[in-house]
């Protein structure tokens, strides 16, 4: 049985076509950040091969509205090369772990001119065929409130209060009616004690639209 499974897995892995052995790169889709804060742009990849020693990561940046990209980071041969001439000089730091397939970078002290698209490209020789993945960075002065959050909150609170008031009103009526009933029963007969028999006799008060006193 075990030998059969081993043979089958070897055969299947051999049959796996060349295209599916492409490297798959993951970054976020969009990142929001406040002016002046730091942000970590993550990049990782999936590859059928073991992580080789020649693994490379490279990040390029394309500002919003521009068609040209500029290379800002490159990791190869175990050494990380950060931008020392371009828009991110002294603001870029490598915080990834190539051994664990993590090529994340840290951008410090964000400015409005940093709005744009960051593309990560990773290569894991001999697995080099793959599509680079892009993450869009949006820098805000203050984090905007999403449409409808406050609207929903106000409506929810007011309707919740309304439901609460109705529930409390009916609860009060129910408790008062029950107390009145139990008092009248205890007056009439001492044989009838509080028990399941009494619960069967009692019926809930009818719900009608009585005006509030």
């Amino acid at each position: 049985m075990l030998t059969f499974l081993a043979l089958a897995s070897v055969v299947l892995l051999g049959i796996v076509p060349e295209q599916s052995q492409a490297i798959v790169i993951y970054t976020g889709w969009e990142r929001h950040a406040l002016l002046g804060s730091d942000i970590r742009l993550s990049c990782s990849f999936f590859s059928w091969r073991w992580t080789s020693e020649d693994v490379t990561f490279s990040w390029t940046y394309r500002p919003d509205g521009s068609r040209d990209s500029i290379s800002i980071f490159h990791y190869t041969g175990g050494v990380a090369y950060v931008d020392n001439k371009g828009p991110f000089r002294d603001r870029l730091e490598f915080v990834g772990n190539p051994g664990r397939r993590d090529g994340s970078i840290l951008l410090k002290n964000l400015e409005f001119t940093d709005n744009g698209t960051f593309t990560c490209d990773a290569k894991n020789p001999p697995d080099i065929v793959g599509r680079p993945s892009s993450v869009r960075l949006l820098v805000f002065e203050k984090v905007p409130i999403q449409a409808g959050v406050i609207t929903g909150a106000i409506i929810g609170v007011v309707l919740g209060l309304l439901v609460l008031i109705v529930v409390i009103y009916y609860l009060m009526r129910f408790l008062v009616a029950r107390r009145v009933f139990s008092l009248s029963v205890s007056k009439h007969g001492k044989k009838k004690k509080e028990g399941s028999q009494q619960r069967q006799l009692w019926t809930p008060p009818p719900l009608t639209c009585y005006p509030l006193p």
């Binding site: 905007p144 409808g148 406050i150 106000i154 409506i155 639209c209 005006p211 509030l212």
Partner: protein, 157 residues
């Protein structure tokens, strides 16, 4: 008696319809080239009519919430009126109906006041108040009068 009932219901429905129109149609501010608030900003760019979602500030969301609440309370008040019409004792007053309708009018009033005071922060100088805004202000006294009539009214057979 029937005429009185019909008149009251018509007044309530008029206020309700005004509230619906004022909330749904996004013409609280208007100018020659476009309209804005409560839900979308539409403008006539040289290409054609182009609409964007309205700005997501705190105050405009508060106005949206208050208008929606006023519609909800006015509808509830209408439903309660019919409910109380058949279950109230003779000589009883429609307090619950009147309360809800007065609350609805207060919500419209607060929404219109908030919009009046804070719209300057996001609406351009060339814009003036549109007809949805005016309808909201008209709906307020109608709803208030309707609510007061309910509170004063006594049920007769």
């Amino acid at each position: 008696m029937l005429l009185l009932l019909l008149g009251i219901i018509l007044l309530h429905l008029a206020a309700l319809v005004l509230l619906f129109v004022s909330t749904i149609i996004s013409v609280w501010s208007t100018s020659e080239t476009g309209t804005s608030d409560l839900w979308t900003n539409c403008s006539i760019v040289n290409g054609g009519y182009h609409c964007n979602p309205a700005s997501t500030g705190e105050w405009i969301q508060a106005v949206q919430a208050l208008m929606i609440l006023s519609i909800i309370f006015s509808c509830l008040s209408l439903f309660l009126f019919f409910c109380q019409l058949f279950t109230l004792q003779k000589g009883g007053r429609f307090f619950l109906t009147g309360t809800f309708q007065i609350l609805a009018s207060l919500f419209v009033m607060s929404g219109a006041i908030i919009y009046t005071v804070t719209s300057q922060y996001w609406v351009l100088e060339t814009y003036t108040f549109g007809y949805s805004y005016i309808l909201a202000w008209v709906a307020f006294p109608l709803a208030l009068i309707s609510g007061l009539i309910y509170v004063i009214l006594r049920k007769r057979e």
